[in-house]
């Protein structure tokens, strides 16, 4: 293990390198491109034996990654925002074909209006796509989640997105520990599954009649449910091996006697840890629940973690129009029947800053709100 300063983009690139990806395909987009360039440089410098498919679009990037995966190679791509939306058709298709492609997503707001800045709306737009989605709170977790993503993907045969926010994470230097290649090779051995193989010809994605289609989808969802266990197992194994346990589907902080819980995912989580420490010093019984895996949605784990809490404040850097924040909405659904008040807030859209001060203000506002609102409230307009 060596420790160095890395941006989130570089951490994702190091993750791909340690995973010894065989095929890389991407189309440049801001702010994801430094991750792409870093992996390309590993290849050019001879540090990584990977074939790079220099496609002409984001749509073709995932298509090429999918083709490589079908032919049995460990495959990686990177994108965000418009690129992710453009490849959406292939996103769903890849999950349906059960291919373990890993995609890093440097989360960025969606047009219109045009924005280059961080937000989680791009990942949220793919919530029904059948991809496992992990969110990272810091750059160390970006690297660690990349490696866990390949392990999870290849175990349950589903693709995985590793989400980190544009600029806040993608362009910010943090201390990151880099595991030894030999130990990673043991944690993540190359195990090729060739779906397209001249030695064993198969027809892939033939037309499915109503007698078949629904059963395929049932099995696909079963794999998602299997991931609920596998994500925890892989996190535990990684923690044991490398000394960093990210705690599986969710993580809890200061929740033992908490009366008020803050729930979020992504970069807000690391800020919220600081806020919780400060408020605890003032005697407030505040705790934190981090959603690390948004897909599959960890409903049971959240019910358990929040069973003794009266007040829950959940924050979303996304908006599902006409409904509210995605995490808030889904959390309320998961906690149905549990005796608690859930206040859901939308903040930080399109790069509007969310500092520890904002998180403190949201928690205060939530304390003062006597009745749970049906919809999500907007904070910081």
């Amino acid at each position: 293990m060596s420790t160095t300063l890395l941006t989130g983009s570089e951490a994702a690139a190091y993750g791909a390198k340690l995973a010894r990806i065989e095929v890389l395909a991407y189309y440049p987009i801001t702010p994801a491109f430094p991750a792409m360039e870093r992996v390309s440089k590993f290849i050019d410098d001879g540090e990584l034996n990977t074939r790079f498919v220099r496609v002409e679009s984001d749509h073709s990037a995932l298509a090429a990654a999918l083709g490589a995966s079908l032919a049995g190679s460990r495959t990686f791509t990177v994108t965000n925002s418009q690129g992710l939306l453009y490849m959406t058709e292939v996103v769903y298709h890849t999950a349906g074909l059960r291919q373990p492609v890993v995609m890093a997503v440097a989360n960025r707001a969606l047009s219109a209006p045009h924005s280059r800045f961080p937000e989680q709306g791009d990942a949220i737009s793919q919530g029904a796509s059948g991809w496992i989605q992990l969110f990272c709170e810091n750059n160390q977790e970006v690297l660690d989640n990349m490696l866990q993503a390949f392990k999870i993907a290849e175990t349950v045969r589903l693709p995985v997105m590793v989400n980190y926010e544009g600029y806040i994470q993608s362009h910010t230097l943090e201390e990151v520990g880099i595991p030894n290649q030999e130990t990673i090779d043991q944690f993540l051995p190359l195990n090729r599954v060739r779906t397209l193989d001249v030695e064993n010809p198969q027809a892939v994605n033939t037309v499915a009649s109503p007698e078949f289609y629904m059963d395929y989808k049932f099995h696909q969802n079963e794999a998602m449910e299997q991931a609920l266990t596998v994500i925890n197992d892989v996190a535990a194994e990684y923690g044991k091996e490398f000394g960093r346990d990210w705690s599986g589907l969710i993580d809890t902080y200061q929740m033992e006697d908490a009366e008020h819980a803050f729930v979020a995912m992504g970069s807000m989580v690391s800020d919220a840890r600081i806020v919780v420490d400060e408020l605890r010093k003032q005697g407030q019984k505040v705790g934190l629940v981090k959603v690390r895996a948004w897909r599959p949605f960890p409903a049971e784990a959240l019910r358990e973690a929040l069973k003794n809490v009266q007040l829950i404040t959940v924050c979303d850097k996304n908006i599902v129009f006409g409904l509210g924040g995605a995490l808030g909405t889904e959390l309320k659904s998961a906690l149905y029947g549990q005796d608690c008040r859930v206040n859901s807030y939308i903040l930080g859209l399109g790069g509007r800053d969310v500092t520890t001060e904002e998180i403190k203000k949201v928690l205060e506002l939530s304390e003062k709100t006597e009745k749970q609102a049906t919809a999500s409230e907007w904070f910081g307009l």
């Binding site: 065989e22 298509a63 995966s69 032919a71 397209l196 010809p201 027809a203 892939v204 033939t206």
Partner: protein
Amino acid sequence: MAQSIADLSKEDLFGQGNAGCGGCGAAIAGRQAMKALGSRTIITIPASCMATMGGSNLKTTWQIPFYHTLFEIAPAVSSGIRAALEAQGIEDVNVVSWAGDAGTADIGFQALTGAAERNEHMLHVCYDNEMYMNTGGQTGSQTPMYAITSNMAKGKQVKKKNMLAIMEAHGVDYVASASIAYPLDLIEKFRKAAAKPGFSYIHLLSPCHRGWQIPPEKTIEYARLAVESGLFELYEVDEGVRTRNLEPTFIPVEDYLSSQGRFKNLTPEAIQGIQAGVNKHYGRGE
């Protein structure tokens, strides 16, 4: 080059019990092409009749790995397959994307031009039936001028886009036109394309009796008339060297056009215009 049909392999890697219409030009083309490509071939086929014909539920007519792709991604998917084979040290496998005129020239063009520009080690085949037959026969860029389709009852008012010229302009290893009426020439072209280290493109004029409104047993005959009239030139551009593979007999274009239901609105002036175009192309006097 095989001298006669008798020289060809008896093995059929495509075509036994496919779901195509009787007399489907694309199915005939698939059967012929596989005589050259052989069993160490991976084929990707985007949304099209050919993809649907290839398999449904637990059945397939393909004896090689066959992947029914999304509409616009076959050349990109094939690029990824090639990259994976290279990464794994597998060198003796042909990678082919096989698309209709929509999956090649229209919705599929972006991925195609990308793969061609990268000179990917693969072959892209366009089986061109000159309209969107898998959705019932609508007009596309490969529909010829004047042809009546299900969404243009008065016939198309603009010219067909020349895909062979566009692909030639990419400077790829090999570009060729081919016809199921000349199977030995077609098979030889697939053999040449498969032997190239980079990108090859083969454009097949593939009559569809439903869309063209011709009798199903005349598929091959119309494919031949298109060539003999000079309307569909058989040629190849091999490493930049252009060769015409067959000198047409120059039967009047009217003999090819006027009996097709899709051209029933053709005026004598329009036919004259088409004939003049052929004459000019081949440098023949009026």
